[in-house]
């Protein structure tokens, strides 16, 4: 609670100290969201309210300061035990006294999401602070992005900021080089990135090399000293490439990353996708994803796989997946769609009908419901229940 009061005092202090200077622009949004999930004959609800306040200042052409605070409150069922969603083969192995440890709790929070200073010169851009890092050309899955993991049910939702210093150097109008240093407790543990981007004809491409320490946890071992699951960090080096462009009238993209691991087996991820808009404005997209860190046989998915997925430590539990999305505008300000996420490896599928509507210039809603149709133990098992989300957002 003290943290909340302190951060609010800080926001108020900044607000009043900069208002007089007429230099800082203040904007943002308020978002209220209702989520529901029906499983094991019970309907559970979780509500959240999020206030995002953005500050931006452009004191000169070369200097840009931007930041945003998020304040989120949760209501309803704020504690969810992951074991409730897993197959009995897995849950039956967990000792009774450990069951409560697999609870994920949504707690009210206020935090500085992004805050950075950007210096722009003809020769380079330098960005220092918590910033958005967005890598790759995939829509749902980005093999070259080790910083963010998207939710396949809601893949365009904004990602958190990451601390780092980034240097972008344009090499003519077609090429650029980027360097990122994301500091941790030592140089060895810090994230380092080099990326070269270029363009040939209607294609953009990039090559990327990243080194970082990947913080895994072993969810079968509890560290009672730290009162958390045992940490299992390891060095990860990634070499990747991505391309986006057009082929035979279709939008196409591909992304590949090979991961060299310090302790565990090396693995690779690949995404290939395409999209098209018909003359009658219907938009279709298809994306294929393989991640060899994940398993091909659903009977071998274990507790670590699931917990790492729910804790956003790894992107998926199932090796080969297909994402299909179709969207059509029903009015100028509304569109409906349906996405299907199909696990080729375990033959499970999630269907997600969506609706977007803009109520006015600055008010919009987004809703989806999801149905799973897989066997027990698969990635999209019917036993995980069905759910939905309704989100309204007003911008100011």
């Amino acid at each position: 609670m003290n943290k909340v009061i302190l951060v609010f005092l800080y926001i108020i202090l900044i607000f009043f100290s900069v208002q007089g200077q007429d230099l800082i622009e203040i904007f943002g949004y308020f978002e209220t969201q209702a989520m529901g999930s029906h499983f094991k004959s019970t309907f559970y609800q979780l509500y959240s309210n999020k206030l995002r306040v953005d500050l931006q200042s452009l004191p000169s052409d070369q200097v840009n300061f931007a930041a945003n605070f998020d304040y989120i409150t949760y209501h309803g069922k704020t504690k969810w035990n992951v074991l409730d969603f897993l197959s009995q083969d897995i849950t039956s192995t967990i000792p009774e006294e450990m069951v409560a440890l697999y609870t994920i709790e949504f707690t009210d929070d206020i935090f500085l999401d992004n805050a950075y200073l950007k210096l722009s010169f003809k020769q380079f851009d330098l960005v220092a602070g918590k910033q958005q890092i967005s890598l790759g050309t995939g829509y749902v899955w980005n093999p070259t992005d080790i910083f963010n993991i998207r939710d396949p049910l809601d893949p365009t939702y904004e990602q958190p900021g990451h601390n780092g210093v980034r240097l972008d150097i344009p090499l003519g109008n077609l090429y650029s080089a980027s360097f990122l240093y994301s500091p941790e407790d030592s140089w060895e543990n810090s994230g380092k990135l080099i990326r070269i981007k270029g363009n040939i004809g209607h294609f953009d491409y990039s090559f990327v090399a990243i080194e970082t320490r990947w913080m895994f946890h072993d969810y079968m071992l509890f560290d009672y000293e730290k009162m958390n699951f045992a940490e299992a960090p390891e060095k990860r080096q990634l070499l990747g490439t991505s391309v986006v462009g057009e082929l035979l009238g279709l939008g196409v993209w591909a992304e590949y990353a090979y991961n060299i691991m310090g302790k565990t087996n090396n693995f690779y991820e690949i995404v290939v996708g395409g999209d098209y808009t018909f003359d009658f404005y219907t938009y279709v997209m298809l994306e294929l994803y393989r991640n060899t860190l994940a398993k091909a046989d659903y009977k071998s998915y274990n507790l670590n796989d699931w917990m790492r997925l729910f804790s956003a430590e790894q992107k998926t539990v199932t090796r080969d997946q297909l994402y299909y999305y179709i969207q059509h505008p029903i009015t100028d300000f509304s569109d409906i769609g349906i996405s299907a996420i199909y696990s080729i490896s375990d033959a499970s599928i999630a269907l997600v009908p969506t609706l977007r509507h803009s109520f006015s210039n600055n008010v919009e809603i987004f809703a989806y419901i999801n149905f799973n149709f897989g066997k027990e133990g698969t990635a999209y098992a019917q036993s995980q229940g069905k759910g939905g989300l309704l989100r309204a957002r007003i911008y100011f």
Binding site: Q132, P170, N173, D204, L250, D279, Y281, D332, Y395
Partner: protein
């Protein structure tokens, strides 16, 4: 003096009349294109979308253009929902990149996206960034002159060339004789050249930097029964614009 001047004036009128009659469809569209596609421009425009039900959405954006409309950058200022979003169109909108400020993500769109409605409006990306399309993608034929919107106009028909991938099979354009402003343009369906899809009506012509400029344009969508009004809030022609403005780096500014 008067005796000499009157025959001279008469002769000039005759020459002008014969010249106007001799202008072919290609000549007219060439002059229209030269006038609307200035080497560079910067403008601030207000876009108001009105749906069938009367709902309205208003956008304010800045637009930079270079190489006679072949390169375009649009950055939204209002509403707050779209603030900071930007679209870069190069090669007459054959290459489109969109930038979303909250995720700082740039997404490249393929040419099929040219047909998408810009922010739900009745203008497609193709309508906004096609540069010299009137002369590169269409063959022009002059039809019988007509009066349109109170102006004495040339009427021309533009038929899509076989190699073009534009999404209109033909256009009918009424061009004011006095200043070569295309006051009305009818856009016909990609597959059915007899099916009128949209009509653009321009008005409020002012001389800006010696160029006759329609300060207001309304696109009527006959299929959806909606309309979108574009109003120029500020415009400057032949401004100094660096090529670096039309890059992914500038898109993210």
């Amino acid at each position: 003096m008067k005796i000499v001047a009157y025959p001279l004036l008469f002769l000039l009128m005759l020459i002008s009349l014969s010249l106007s009659q001799e202008l072919s469809g290609e000549d007219i569209i060439q002059k229209v294109n030269e006038q609307i596609n200035v080497e560079t421009s910067y403008g601030k425009q207000k876009m108001t979308i009105t749906t069938t039900s009367g709902d309205e959405r208003t956008f304010l954006f800045e637009a930079w253009s270079k190489e006679r409309g072949a390169k375009n950058l649009i950055r939204y200022m209002e509403p707050k929902r779209a603030k900071g979003q930007a679209t870069l169109m190069l090669n007459n909108a054959d290459d489109i990149w969109m930038y979303f400020p909250r995720t700082q993500r740039v997404r490249k769109l393929a040419t099929h996206a040219k047909r998408q409605k810009m922010e739900g409006s009745d203008f497609s990306y193709e309508d906004m960034g096609s540069g010299d399309a009137f002369i590169d993608d269409f063959d022009a034929k002059r039809l019988e002159d007509e009066e349109m919107e109170g102006h004495d106009c040339y009427k021309i028909e533009l038929t899509r060339k076989s190699e073009s991938d534009l999404s209109y099979s033909r256009l009918i354009m009424w061009v004011i004789k006095e200043n070569f402003v295309p006051i009305v343009i009818d856009y016909y369906d990609e597959d059915d050249p007899n099916l009128a899809e949209k009509r653009l009506v321009q008005s409020n012509i002012e001389i800006i930097d010696d160029i006759p400029t329609a300060m207001k344009a309304i696109m009527y969508n006959k299929n959806d029964n909606s309309k979108t009004e574009l109003e120029i809030v500020e415009i400057r022609f032949n401004v100094q614009l660096d090529d670096a403005m039309f890059t992914e780096r500038a898109l993210k500014k």
